[in-house]
Amino acid sequence: MKIKYSRELCQGHNRCYMLAPELFDVDDEGYAVLLVDGEVPAELHEKAQLCVDNCPEYAIELTE
């Protein structure tokens, strides 16, 4: 499972950082920073899906 994050679409709602700090950090301005290099570890698949399902700006995508 691969995760893609768009800094262009991100408006700093911080939902992903709150739900999955293992996958997302935030920078000093409150925008998300993806912590993994594309591939999501198996134990974090569920959390990655939560990040997708709760991003108001549709800035996060998962692909197989």
């Binding site: 408006q11 950082y17 935030v26 920078d27 399902d53 991003c55 108001p56």
Partner: protein
Amino acid sequence: MEDLVKEPVADWATDFDHSHPDYGANAPAIWDELRTTCPVAHSERFGGMWLPTRHDDIAAIAANDDGNYTSQRVVVSAVEDESMPAPIGGAPPITSDPPFHADARRLLLAPFAPKVINEITPFARQFCNDLLDDALAKAQANDGVFDAAVDYAQSIPVRVIAKMLGLPPEDGDIFRRFIHQIVENPVDHDVADEDSIEVYLDAQIDKHKADPKPEGDLIDHLLRVELYGEKLSDEHVRGTVILLLIAGIDTTWSAIGSSLWHLAQNPDDLKRYRDEPEIRPFAQEEFLRFYAPVTMARLVAQDHELRGCPMKQGDWVLLPFPAANRDPEAFDDADTFIIDRQKNRHGAFGLGIHRCLGSNLARMELAVALDVFVERIDEFELVDPEAVRFSTGQIRGPRELPIRVTR
């Protein structure tokens, strides 16, 4: 305070009025009806305004990809605005348009980033406990009754933003008077100059200028930062302080109050919120979705059509994010409150470039206010559902919420 008696609304599709008491009490039913019968409602009130109710339309207007709208005014008002012109507007950055908007906003992002806000949590927690000490003492002498909106919810954001801005905490009543003037009572009214928010804040900002502190509060920060190589103008500083003071108070007060209103009427949800801490982050987001307090406004910047409706330059357009949050096209079981809802892309803090700057602060205050409340109070109920009074205007939430502590 004296408000004008509003003309009754003849038909919500052609004569809606968000400042009418009937709207405050019944808004979700009105949105649901309009969404299926007339998704972009119109009214001649306030010189002409539109009310879209579908998530897609609201999100598209917020995104404003074609420049059809301006944020120069975000609160519908019959009072003329004599402040800074576009793209700055009277309260930057909320009243600003691109490209100026992003530059003015960037100055404020760091002080509201989540890790900075987290550091205020212990202060908020202590203050919530202090408020409940007083409220519960009052309840003990009054058959278990206190007002969860007046004695608890309303004071929390006032106290926190006063600390962040460096304003006297005892001036809370003055801040609430400004909110009434600016947000809750958007009809023509006279405010004596000496009672205006401008005069009050100029005096407070002058005090900060006379005693600058390098690691100081938000007013010190605004007086120190530079935009395009220059200090901010006095008008810009004052406009931004007006924004920071007004925007966080009755919005957060409404979110906390609506959540407590829900818990008072839904003992099963109260029990789950208390007994299952792992669902709390989802519950807080569901409170925000279901009871989103904030409707923003825009002005039409250029003539265009929206779903066949003729939008004319200068018309008001309301952005009812709470209506977007109830759109069945965007949410499963949109009109059902699901305390552990897992899929929730709600827009309670707005969508697009104007996402609420204080969203991390508001979330922290909501979480702390609810957590402390359920730690201290096991069970509670409404004294009388009819005694709950909702606000009118663009910020929706209970302003009077008498509850009885039963355990």
